[in-house]
Symmetry: C2
Subunit: 491 residues, 2 copies
Amino acid sequence: MSKGLPDKNQNFSAWYNELVKKADLAENSSVRGCMVIKPYGFSIWEKMQSTLDSMFKKSGHQNAYFPLFVPKSYLSKEADHVKGFAKECAVVTHYRLINDDKGKGLIVDPKAKLEEELIVRPTSETVIWNTYKNWIQSYRDLPILINQWANVVRWEMRTRLFLRTSEFLWQEGHTAHSTKEEAKEETLKILDIYSEFLEKTMAIPVLKGIKSENEKFAGAVETFCVEALMQDGKALQAGTSHFLGQNFAKAFNVQFSTPQGKKEYVWGTSWGVSTRLVGALVMAHSDEKGLVLPPNLAPIQVVMIPIFNNEKEYEKINNAFNKIASQLDNKNISYKIDNRKNNKPGWKFAEYELKGVPIRLALGPKDLENNTIEITRRDTLKKETTNIKSIRDKISNYLIEIQNNIYKKANDFKNKNSHTAKNYEDFKNIIKNKSGFVYAHWDGTVETEEKIKKETKATIRCIPITKKQNEGKCIVTGKKSKGMVVFAKAY
Amino acid sequence: MSKGLPDKNQNFSAWYNELVKKADLAENSSVRGCMVIKPYGFSIWEKMQSTLDSMFKKSGHQNAYFPLFVPKSYLSKEADHVKGFAKECAVVTHYRLINDDKGKGLIVDPKAKLEEELIVRPTSETVIWNTYKNWIQSYRDLPILINQWANVVRWEMRTRLFLRTSEFLWQEGHTAHSTKEEAKEETLKILDIYSEFLEKTMAIPVLKGIKSENEKFAGAVETFCVEALMQDGKALQAGTSHFLGQNFAKAFNVQFSTPQGKKEYVWGTSWGVSTRLVGALVMAHSDEKGLVLPPNLAPIQVVMIPIFNNEKEYEKINNAFNKIASQLDNKNISYKIDNRKNNKPGWKFAEYELKGVPIRLALGPKDLENNTIEITRRDTLKKETTNIKSIRDKISNYLIEIQNNIYKKANDFKNKNSHTAKNYEDFKNIIKNKSGFVYAHWDGTVETEEKIKKETKATIRCIPITKKQNEGKCIVTGKKSKGMVVFAKAY
């Protein structure tokens, strides 16, 4: 393992790119804009999936699967949606390849042109609401609470592993309701699931809020979001939950009859998180030695490394590790015994630090004599020699402690990097020199929002919904503001 | 619920189509050739996934994710592969839509034409071996044991839900090895996993074998398969495991250095099963009343239906059901209490028979008095009144018994419908009148295979690998045969 990560403080972006590759999370594929998610990276995503999936199911949602392709005409049905999504997308125009008789090799068969082009789904609202039309007649058919795990494609010119790729994996929930209230409740319930997942599983504190008109989802009435702060002071939109109103029901003519026999349009929501979260996990916690993974998402929670001079010691140490392993099995703690002989312990130490394994155990001949074992935490890098008999409980406790400590560290960082701007000078100064979340009064207009973006590169991340807001004056125009909103530079 | 399934014996195909729709497994989408997998059908697929996934992981495989798109030129690199897969496929030619200035609405931007067309993956050997090239330098990098859960697209003109759709879901394993022996061992290990899964989880007996040259995977040296017999006497290829030899390694120039420092091409395998298995499950076990699901795959294993005349009875019965429910929770048995008041018990009985729920409990006022409960098995439709105190154990035992019984029934059917043809007349007669698996001697030539296919519509399903074979004479040409092979009409 050659470490040599770029300096995180000097060049955060290079540090991130190198870390993602060196820790075997993902790599760029030879297919433009698409990534290969490698087994180690994918197992983190699987853990995210499994936790989220059970949260969705517990709250009454079911999984289903809808087609990959969206007929071109569907995209046009919702006026705002088409503006947002019918731009950079993968367009299927033909359905056959043939061998060219002039010797050009494999060519597209000009006879196999589709009557209507198919778009590789950038998101599935249109296909799904077109299906819901047939599923919904009466209020008895509602609510529909469906989620789908899928791949989507949005053609991107500049891509970055996990953060922005042409193809990515995500979950997209699409629900249908008989009342506005119920749909809004669903939107917020999901926002709570996302924030709980981010905070408890990913150990990332979030800011819950609502997007400005300018930043909301194309086709939504309101977009709620969870925003997280990365270690370089930039914000990352970690998940969104959209209250769609009756927009898609109207676009696809989805009506239901009420208990009173009236016809009404159905109310909808949609919501999603993606493999982008793996990028957020890396940028929120990791350090100059590599990944720092919260135990709740670490594919390997404990690694055991033998230190030995001869075969006899090697055997004894392996026996001791196997005993510990069976204790960990009982506690459902995942582990790996790395007893490969062709790599030195020091090399292995660095390797598992790079991979972010929360706990490292090292056992040598002296430990064997003294019934001790060396335990090292990845989050603090603190070593300790402890009695081997109590190792199981020590590990259990440390896993909880590490999870909490990683969260605390991220939360302290977020608090330290949340600022309030008194005026526009102050604002520009903070964005330029300190970065982070900047609370500021805003007059609510798109003009001011865009002026700020143009002059500082900061955007409105959200209008917070957790704090009570006081009125004030816009830092740019001095006009009336309903409350502070949160600005930041963002991914 | 209006049942009215077509007669299974008269029109198996119509019975299947209607059952899949009425039982809420899937439906045709408005996107040509693509299906919508509905929540009930998807939950069966999720159970299949989860069982298979843990079998793959226990045998050392890891999941990863590779791009959806295959550059056109990749398909051409393996000579046989291109013939098999570069035909009916979805071709992405452009990456942008724009609004037409002549008012035609949304059109493909002619300026956004891709330099090289991208094919939506029909299978991923080419993309994956192109990636493996960078992952493999030395024997120390081998083996690579990777699986991917993904969607694939093969443009189909005639589609049938689950059995043949343009887009389908599957898992595809792709492994790389340093020796031929190890790769062949892997191919067979996976074949065993598939047959164990089919037999133990899906309760479907299979025939294990090897495909004829004519029927093997395009690009493989050998294709192994598990074949299952459906209730109409037609065979269904349930899973395939391919020994790729060094074909893809040579096509993509993937070499490794041996411990002796020599360069050699890597040996490969690939293997997959798909959502087709849901179709197989339906066709293998179901009956004129609807689905018959093996308990190991049933989304709901037990349904409880109250029979009541008044609110007081309703409450008492619900209390009794809740007690049973908590007993089932302890045993990890899934259940549903259907206490909706707007549907009659008889309607519900028919509904859950249609959905294939293995066990139905019904509780009425008389049962309450006598401390009894009615239990009905879906597989035999036998009713029984039993003491409510022993219901938990009864259910546990029945779930095992039902699983075994469904398998036994399918196995008896397979045995009864496995025939041996003495000569070609006999063969034609069996295929025409009895159908099923037909064992017959074959001279090993493509000519004979195609003559039989043309004249009888039967194809070689496989050359069995489990039975010891005796030499004989081809039923068509009288030439020497190494052993009997299995013919059938197939899906």
